[in-house]
Structure formats: structure tokens, C-alpha cells
């Protein structure tokens, strides 16, 4: 969403990214951070499943 009231680039005088000046950028950052942690946890589990196959 365009972060200014008027859909005109002439009014843009600062942040121009989507949903600037709302709480959404922070929410996106939090989601991205959680995803990184989740992927690492899933990767750790998967990696150790592979190790276990060779230990049997």
C-alpha cells in the first residue's frame, strides 16, 4: 500500500516503502526473524535425523 494519502509521487518526502509509517514493517521484521529461527530448528532436527540413520 502507498504510504501517503494522495497517490502521487510529488508528495513523497521520506520513506517510500510499502506500509511505511504503520506497524506493519515491524510485524514483517518479526515474522522474518521467527522464520529464520524456525528454519534453523527444523534444519537441526533434519540434520540429526540423517546422522541417526548412519549411527544405526
Amino acid at each position: 500500500m502507498f504510504p501517503y494519502d494522495t497517490a502521487d509521487w510529488a508528495v513523497v518526502d521520506g520513506p517510500m516503502f510499502m506500509l511505511a509509517n504503520t506497524s506493519w514493517p515491524g510485524i514483517f521484521t518479526a515474522i522474518a526473524a521467527v522464520l529464520c529461527v524456525w528454519v534453523l530448528a527444523a534444519g537441526f532436527r533434519s540434520e540429526h535425523e540423517q546422522y541417526a540413520k548412519f549411527e544405526k
Binding site: 500500500m1 502507498f2 497517490a7 502521487d8 509521487w9 510529488a10 513523497v12 517510500m16 516503502f17 510499502m18 506500509l19 511505511a20 506493519w24 514493517p25 514483517f28 521484521t29 515474522i31 522474518a32 522464520l35 529464520c36 528454519v39 527444523a42 534444519g43 533434519s46
Partner: protein, 462 residues
């Protein structure tokens, strides 16, 4: 007092002149440097598809890729550049609202003969035409390289070059004229925004390759009688992975060339960078979002594949998935979208393979499917943004982005399918089975890829 004022005025004029010279030289050097950076894309594609080839085909894959690069440049000079400037308003060839398009305009600046030849060769008063042409010629060559990897190990060289010219100097150029030009009808009428060419370069090239693959058919041994697929391993996975990384290095030049520097007569702004549409952008925006796109794509593809080939393909997919809106995405959102692209990448490629399509390097999925995904994702998140920097500009909408995606798909798929069919009918598409089994290097390349004994080569290898 008057003398002092006169001196100050003279100094100011000299300063302005000097500043103008510096700016002009900067703008020229800016585009000039994008050209070798984009040639790194081709070094990457060369390594990527040679590594993905079996040892018996490694050099013929290289010959094909190198020749495509060489033929795209003159054909883009002969007519591709004219198409970009002549076609934006559609098949009427009329001038668009910005006054920088149409047949008359293209005739005046983009032909290598007559009056317009002054803009198509060395000219001491023109420091932009050559470098701008050069950047676009590299975009064109990129499309050919995208298709090149998909068709390795069974396509005829000349047939492939003809297809590369149709794609690189015609099909994608029409897409660029329509959706990547301030006068393009997709932009002025539907608000289509594709800053980094996810649709008009990647999707067009990816689906052109799909059209070709449907007539070319799979490599011998790819599919079993029951329709199940065999994995045909390339002879050098590390080379392929490094090639993919080189493509990503080159992408920085590709995306840099999508930015218009300020302060020149042809610039959109006096004081800030612009996209090709004339909307504001910063290189910092690119740095944030390209890096987050690469990271998201790698992580997303690692989840299911754990395979470096797909992880680096995921990096490409990550960039492509956010390329349309690199100018306006928030970096964390770009990361999330790119990660989703990395996740869907391998399943999408597997699905395509299950339909009997032998895409040797996943080009249709990485560039085609993910390209369209990126165009549409921008419609989901970027609706409401002005598509041009003018009053009452059309705005980006999901509907408009879907229309753009459909047009880009058709501009790729239809020419690829039609021209491949024609070449097939003429016996110019596929190599004979005996040559394919013997290995194309043995058949048509008077050189060896590796010293005897290091890597098996010739008919015995598979």
C-alpha cells in the same frame, strides 16, 4: 563592486559547467559499468549450463551459449533497439503521452542508417546512446541465456541461435516496450509495474523456453516407459553452483541498469534517481531488497532440498520474486516473499517434470513461474502506488499485475512454441538420436573438454 559581481558570475558559470561535465560523465560511466557486470551473468550461465551438461556435451553447450550472446548483440542493434522505442503504444506505433515512443521516434534514434545513425555510433555530443543501448543489449542476451540452459544436450546449434534471436531481439523487447517503458500501454492503461523485469525478462524467457521444450522433447533416457523421470546428473555440480553465484553477482549490474541517473537532459529528475518508469528510487533500496531477496530464496529452498543447486537456484528465485518491486518493498517483506519463492521452487519444477518436460536446469520454473509469481505478488502488496510520476497517474493494482503476467506469459510462450514448431518441421530443431547418444562434443566440436583420462568423454560416457 561591479567587477567583483562579474567575477563571481563567471566563477559560478564555470562551476556549473564543471558540475554538468562531472554529472554527464558519471551518468555515462554508470551505464558503462553495468555492461561488464552483466557480462558476468553470461559467465555464470556459461559455467552453469556447462556444469549441468554431461562430459560428452560440455563444450557444445558452451558453444551454443557463447554464440547466442554473439548473435543477440548485432540483431538487437539491427532491430531490437528499434522495437523497444517503436512498440510501446502497441501495434499502432503511435507516439505515447511522454513523447518518447512510436515509429517516428524510433526511426529518429534507433536505426543504424540515415539520420538516426548519428545516435547509433560514436558521437562526441552523445554520451548516453551507446551505453544505454549496451545495457539493453545485455538484458537481451540474458533472456537467451535463460533459455539456453533448458535445452542443453539435444538442440541443434543453428536452430537454437534462431530461437535465441527471436527471444532476445524480438519477444522480450516487445514485452519491455509494453511494460517497461513510460509510454508502454501496460503501464499507462493498467499501471503495470515490473521494475526489475521479473515478468518481462525472466517470465518471458522462461515460458519461451517452455514453448521450445514442448517441441524439442526430453533427452534420451530422461523418462522411462511408464512416464517416471530419471535424474541426469551434470558432470560438474560445483561449476554449476559457482555459475549460479556469478549470475547473482551480475544481477547487481542488471538491476543497477534499471535505474536512471539524475541531472541530465534525458533524466527523469534533476536531483534523484528514477526507475525506468520515471518514479523515484534509490540504490539503497536495491541494496536492502536484493540482499534480503537472495537470503530469503536460499533459506526457503534449503528447507526442502538441502541441495546446493536448488539453494543457489533459490537465490535467483528470491531476487526474481521481488524484482518487480525492489524499489518499494520493505526489506523484511521482501525476505518473506523470497523465502516463499524458495519453498515453492522445487515442487514447481518437479510438477513440470511430471508433465513430461525435460528442463535440464529448471529455467522454466526459476525464471518463468517465479517471474510471474513476483509480478503478481507486487499486485498483492503494492496496490495503490502510482505507476508513473505524473499527476493522475495510473496506480498499481492486483488486476493490472495479473493482466501484465498474462501478457508476459503469452509474449514468451507463443513465439517459443510457434518458432520451435517451424524449426522442427524444417528439421532444424533436434539433433539426430545417434549424435545425441555419441555426445555432441564428439560429433561437432573440434576440441576436448578435459585431458584424456581425467573425465571420461565420448560415446562411452553417459
Amino acid at each position: 563592486m561591479e567587477q567583483q559581481l562579474a567575477d563571481l558570475t563567471a566563477q559560478l558559470a564555470a562551476l556549473q559547467s564543471s558540475s554538468g561535465v562531472t554529472n554527464t560523465n558519471f551518468a555515462e560511466v554508470y551505464y558503462y559499468l553495468t555492461i561488464p557486470l552483466m557480462i558476468i551473468i553470461h559467465a555464470g550461465f556459461l559455467a552453469y549450463e556447462m556444469g549441468a551438461s554431461r562430459a560428452k556435451n560440455v563444450l557444445s553447450s558452451g558453444v551454443k551459449n557463447i554464440l547466442a550472446f554473439a548473435f543477440i548483440i548485432p540483431t538487437f542493434y539491427f532491430f531490437g533497439w528499434w522495437i523497444y522505442w517503436g512498440f510501446p503504444t502497441g501495434l499502432t506505433f503511435s507516439e505515447g503521452p511522454m513523447g518518447i515512443s512510436g515509429a517516428a521516434y524510433a526511426n529518429a534514434i534507433a536505426f543504424g542508417w540515415g539520420e538516426s545513425a548519428q545516435y547509433m555510433g560514436p558521437n562526441v555530443t552523445d554520451q548516453i546512446s551507446g551505453v544505454f543501448f549496451g545495457a539493453f543489449a545485455m538484458f537481451a542476451a540474458t533472456t537467451a541465456s535463460i533459455m539456453s540452459g533448458a535445452v542443453i544436450e539435444r538442440i541443434q546449434t543453428v536452430g537454437f541461435i534462431i530461437l535465441a534471436i527471436v527471444l532476445g531481439s524480438f519477444a522480450w523487447v516487445v514485452a519491455a516496450a509494453w511494460g517497461w517503458h513510460a509510454d508502454g500501454w501496460l503501464v499507462t492503461q493498467w499501471g503495470v509495474h515490473d521494475f526489475g523485469a521479473a515478468g518481462l525478462v525472466h517470465a518471458v524467457a522462461g515460458f519461451f523456453a517452455l514453448g521450445v521444450l514442448m517441441h524439442l522433447g526430453p533427452r534420451i533416457g530422461k523418462f522411462n516407459v511408464d512416464g517416471s523421470a530419471n535424474h541426469i546428473a551434470g558432470h560438474n555440480m560445483p561449476l554449476t553452483v559457482v555459475g549460479l553465484m556469478l549470475i547473482i553477482v551480475g544481477f547487481w549490474g542488471f538491476l543497477m541498469a534499471c535505474v536512471v541517473p539524475p541531472g541530465e537532459a534525458w533524466s527523469w529528475f534533476a536531483d534523484k534517481q528514477a526507475t525506468i518508469y520515471g518514479t523515484p528510487i534509490t540504490l539503497s533500496a536495491l541494496a536492502f531488497n536484493i540482499l534480503m531477496g537472495i537470503a530469503g530464496g536460499i533459506i526457503g529452498s534449503w528447507i526442502w532440498t538441502k541441495d546446493p543447486f536448488w539453494m543457489m537456484s533459490g537465490a535467483l528465485a528470491g531476487i526474481i520474486s521481488v524484482a518487480s518491486g525492489l524499489d518499494i518493498y520493505f526489506p523484511a517483506l521482501a525476505f518473506i516473499i523470497a523465502m516463499s519463492a524458495g519453498i515453492i521452487l522445487k515442487p514447481a519444477a518437479t510438477w513440470l517434470e511430471s508433465r513430461g518436460i525435460d528442463d535440464a536446469v529448471g529455467a522454466v520454473t526459476v525464471h518463468g513461474t517465479i517471474g510471474l509469481y513476483g509480478v503478481i505478488m507486487l499486485g498483492v502488496f503494492g496496490s495503490g502506488y502510482p505507476a508513473l510520476a505524473i499527476e493522475n497517474a495510473p496506480v498499481i493494482t492486483l488486476y493490472g499485475q495479473i493482466i501484465g503476467a498474462v501478457v508476459f506469459f503469452l509474449l514468451g510462450f507463443v513465439p517459443g512454441w510457434v518458432f520451435a514448431l517451424i524449426l522442427k518441421k524444417m528439421g532444424m530443431l533436434r539433433v539426430p538420436a545417434a549424435a545425441e547418444e555419441a555426445g555432441l562434443d564428439t560429433v561437432k566440436v573440434p576440441a576436448q573438454g578435459y585431458p584424456e583420462g581425467i573425465v571420461p568423454s565420448g560415446p562411452a560416457s553417459s
